[in-house]
């Protein structure tokens, strides 16, 4: 990545400020009595995690996926299904019992989402461009209708959880503790992905996004790298899904609906494509605007639309790009 020294300095300041803000927010909210801010920002953080994982695909891998909600939903359903089996004591597939232990459920949500990404990715990556967009969308919608048909797990109505997962030493039912656990997950994913995009893997990935033909003639099987990227993105979304199921204590097919994929894409574009940190800002702005505009009108989308158009037209690198002065 080509960054001028002044823009990378601004980026450092901005990321530090953002991290301090998110770390201090619950303290300030508790002090001032605006406790609802904690759950609002928990939602922001979880959506940010999903948006960052999508940015890895679109902004670095050149893989414009319109089916990212599938992996969020899979993470959610893994959490929900394991919970229900644990609650009712009925073994899953007659093999193993369910559980509400986050140390088991969340890694499983990540692994199952990555597994689905492996299957969906290896079929979708046979195509590119417009076809890739359509085939990822088709897979996600297929899974959506599959979830609707899952009568055993609530079908259309979804699946309620009666409590959040348990994490030894912590009480996730406590909104404050849950907030910091989510923030920890987001921070971890951001650190891992920022290292990843400038690593050897990331360089191959960015090269493949810009010029796949050249990657192949350098002797690198570029599609395989894109597939691994697709799996990492899916894994991140799977974790976001598990967290979201915990926050709302509810899983439903709407998690997998294409409108969620669309929302995530809007967050990425709004915040700044190919910046990893931008989508965090994008998620915050999107969800806060939704919250504020919805207070005045139920047609809040009508106001959000023009804002998005302006950002896409005039700020190539999104809000984060405007704030850091990124020019390339």
């Amino acid at each position: 990545m080509i960054e001028s020294p002044s823009s990378s300095k601004k980026k450092l300041i901005l990321v530090t400020a953002g991290a301090l803000f998110l770390a201090a927010l619950p303290v300030a909210a508790t002090w001032s009595g605006d406790v609802y801010l904690i759950s609002l920002f928990t939602r922001v953080i979880i959506y940010a995690l999903a948006a960052v994982s999508l940015d890895l695909l679109i902004g670095y891998g050149g893989l414009i996926s319109l089916g990212h909600a599938a992996f969020v939903g899979i993470g959610g359903y893994v959490t929900g299904i394991l919970y229900v089996h644990g609650f009712e004591g009925e073994p899953l597939l007659g093999l193993f019992g369910g559980t509400d232990n986050a140390l088991v459920v969340w890694p499983l949500a990540v692994l199952v989402a990555a597994g689905f990404a492996l299957v969906i990715g290896s079929l979708s990556l046979r195509t590119s461009g417009m076809h890739f967009i359509m085939i990822t969308l088709a897979f996600a919608q297929m899974l959506y209708y599959f979830a609707v048909g899952l009568e055993k797990y609530g079908g259309d109505d979804g699946l309620p959880l009666y409590s959040r997962n348990s994490l030894p030493g912590l009480d996730l039912g406590d909104d404050l503790q849950f907030y910091y656990v989510c923030l920890f997950c987001l921070a971890l994913f951001l650190i891992l992905t920022s290292r990843l995009v400038s690593s050897r893997f990331g360089l191959v990935l960015r090269g493949a996004a810009g010029n796949m033909r050249r990657i192949l003639t350098l002797g690198i099987p570029g599609r395989r790298y894109q597939l691994v990227c697709f799996m990492i993105g899916g894994a991140g979304a799977g974790l976001a899904g598990a967290l979201l199921a915990n926050q709302t204590e509810y899983v439903s097919p709407t998690l997998l609906h294409w409108t969620v994929s669309g929302e995530l894409m809007v967050m990425v574009l709004l915040g700044g494509l190919g910046s990893l940190f931008g989508p965090v800002l994008g998620a915050a702005v999107y969800l806060l605007l939704e919250e504020i505009l919805a207070m005045y009108t139920e047609h809040w989308m009508a106001y959000l639309g023009p804002i998005l158009i302006l950002v896409v037209l005039f700020a190539k690198h999104g809000l984060f790009g405007v704030l850091t002065g990124r020019e390339d």
Binding site: I2, R206, G207, R214, I215, L216, L218, G219, P221, Y225
Partner: protein, 248 residues
């Protein structure tokens, strides 16, 4: 018997009614500069694309170091030692000059499923990057975006990237295209230096360049090789003069 690095046997490729390669056969001797010439539309780039594996032949075989590679995908041919540069410059416009070169270096240095350390801190990149950039005179522009380079500089980068893979056989597809006189002289000097280290298959329009550099020349007309020989033999061949040189 001569030591052939590349043997093309009865290669055929048609696009509908057009025969791009018509029972094409020629052989390239090791450590030679072997030029492919022919009038426009003779099918030279199609041949290079078939050799690199981007186009599949309809029939015939390609032997590289006596191994039939005609069913290998592109990246396996590269791994076997067959490198190429493109007629239309093909670098990574979205990456910096240094990153372009680093990618070319890393391509030949094991797998790239390494997710943590910075790509430019890899031992092979630290060892080779500066020399690889200097060789094509781009060390001062290392941090520039490759997309912002001039056409000539992109071509230098392209050739430089093809070189770091240390291919046994380097295919240069019209390397002089779009270069000014100065650039052409520079690049000819570079190609001469490479002679002896590797075999070069040169597809080139500029006859002065071809006759100055080539050890052997094959003349392609309508996808078939009508003559192969030393520059003197080709110059004296009446068939070639009629089919090709005579027209100019």
């Amino acid at each position: 018997m001569a030591d052939y690095i590349l043997q093309v046997r009865n290669l055929c490729k048609s696009f509908g009614a057009v025969q791009a390669s018509a029972n094409l056969s020629f052989s390239v001797e090791r450590r030679n500069i072997h030029a492919l010439i022919g009038p426009n539309g003779a099918g030279k780039t199609t041949i290079v694309n078939q050799l690199s594996g981007e186009l599949e032949q309809d029939s015939g075989s390609i032997l590289f170091n006596s191994v039939d590679i005609s069913s290998y995908p592109v990246y396996r041919r590269v791994a076997a030692g067959l490198g190429r540069s493109f007629q239309i410059t093909s670098v990574f416009d979205n990456l910096s000059v240094a990153e372009n070169m680093a990618l070319a270096i890393l391509a030949g240095d094991g797998h790239n499923y390494r997710f943590w350390n910075h790509a430019c801190n890899a031992a092979s990149v630290k060892r080779e990057l500066a020399a690889a950039l200097s060789r094509v005179d781009l060390i001062d522009k290392a941090d520039r975006s490759a997309g912002a380079l001039s056409h000539g500089e992109k071509r230098q980068l392209e050739v430089g990237m093809a070189l770091v893979g240390k291919p046994e056989l380097l295919m240069l597809d019209e390397p002089m295209a779009g270069l000014g006189a100065g650039g052409t002289v520079e690049l000819m000097k570079l190609i001469r230096q490479l002679k002896g280290q590797m075999t070069i298959l040169l597809v080139e329009h500029d006859m002065d360049v071809v006759f100055a550099l080539a050890d052997r020349i094959s003349v392609i007309v309508y996808g078939a090789c009508i003559a192969s020989g030393s520059p003197e033999e080709i110059r004296g061949n009446p068939e070639v003069q009629q089919a090709y040189l005579g027209e100019n």
